[in-house]
């Protein structure tokens, strides 16, 4: 009885080890095989079944958009540093709202440019894929913030109810 139990446990352990080994080896292999870090647009072509011509048009839009995006991000980062400096000094409290407004304006500009880019990219795709692309991008960019805002406003309602 005891011997049988030991054999059964050893067989189960061996089976689990074999399964886990095969699982992780295959996981790693396919992860390495499918990952193409050289180009961000490969995912787009695979996911939205784009032709080479469509991808070329999107690449053009992408490469035109990225420097502008980087420039706006650099401006936002600069304003954030200025805001941090103001908050750190504690002397010029009146400058803080001004700096916040500048950051918010830059973010709004950045966001509207980002959305315009998404729309332009979606229009370079077949209509059904374009719609799916817009929905995906909205989910990953604006959707996440909406969730946070909704959860926070829910908390506020809860607080005020007391």
């Amino acid at each position: 009885m005891k011997r049988s139990l030991l054999i059964l446990l050893a067989a189960l352990a061996l089976g689990a080890a074999l399964f886990a080994g095969a699982y992780f080896a295959a996981h790693r292999a396919s992860e390495l095989c499918c990952a193409r870090p050289a180009d961000d647009l490969n995912w787009l072509q695979l996911e939205f079944h784009l032709s080479n011509a469509e991808l070329a048009r999107i690449r053009e839009l992408h490469e035109g958009y990225l420097p502008q995006c980087a420039e706006r991000c650099a401006r936002i980062a600069e304003k954030k540093r200025e805001l941090d400096a103001l908050l750190g000094s504690g002397t010029n409290a009146t400058g803080v709202p001004v700096k916040q407004a500048e950051i918010a304006a830059l973010r709004a500009e950045c966001q509207s440019n980002m959305l315009a880019h998404f729309v332009a990219v979606s229009q370079a795709m077949p209509p059904a894929q374009g719609e799916r692309y817009l929905a995906e991008m909205k989910k990953f960019t604006l959707g996440a913030h909406e969730k946070i805002e909704q959860s926070m406003s829910g908390d506020c309602v809860h607080e005020h109810a007391h």
């Binding site: 049988s4 095969a22 396919s30 992860e31 095989c33 490969n42 980002m114």
Partner: protein, 102 residues
């Protein structure tokens, strides 16, 4: 023992009833003898299960099934992970400022 005694013994032997043996009596006797001499077979389910999984054909089939299932599920999961990472790289590239970071 005199003649009378031996006659008496004969009558007594004849008068004793000898019932007929039940059918397959001898075979059943031998079966009982075998059952007492051979080691007792275990009726335990665990022993039966172990005996089953230790059969070479079943053991090889089990190993093959585990390796195949593990490989297929691992490959599927790896493809999904790679796809998700590529998606996140793209989103981070085009929406750096608005990507939700946990």
């Amino acid at each position: 023992m005199n003649i009378e005694d031996s006659k008496l013994s004969g009558w007594l032997r004849e008068s004793r009833a000898t019932p007929a043996l039940p059918p397959r009596f001898q075979e059943n006797v031998w079966r009982r003898i075998e059952a007492t001499t051979t080691p007792k077979k275990s009726g335990n389910w665990l022993d039966a299960l172990v005996a089953l999984i230790l059969r070479p054909r079943l053991a090889f089939a089990g190993v093959a099934l585990l390796l195949l299932t593990g490989t297929l599920l691992g490959a599927q999961s790896g493809v999904q992970t790679a796809r998700h990472e590529a998606q996140m790289r793209y989103v981070a590239a085009v929406a750096h400022e608005f990507t939700y970071r946990q």
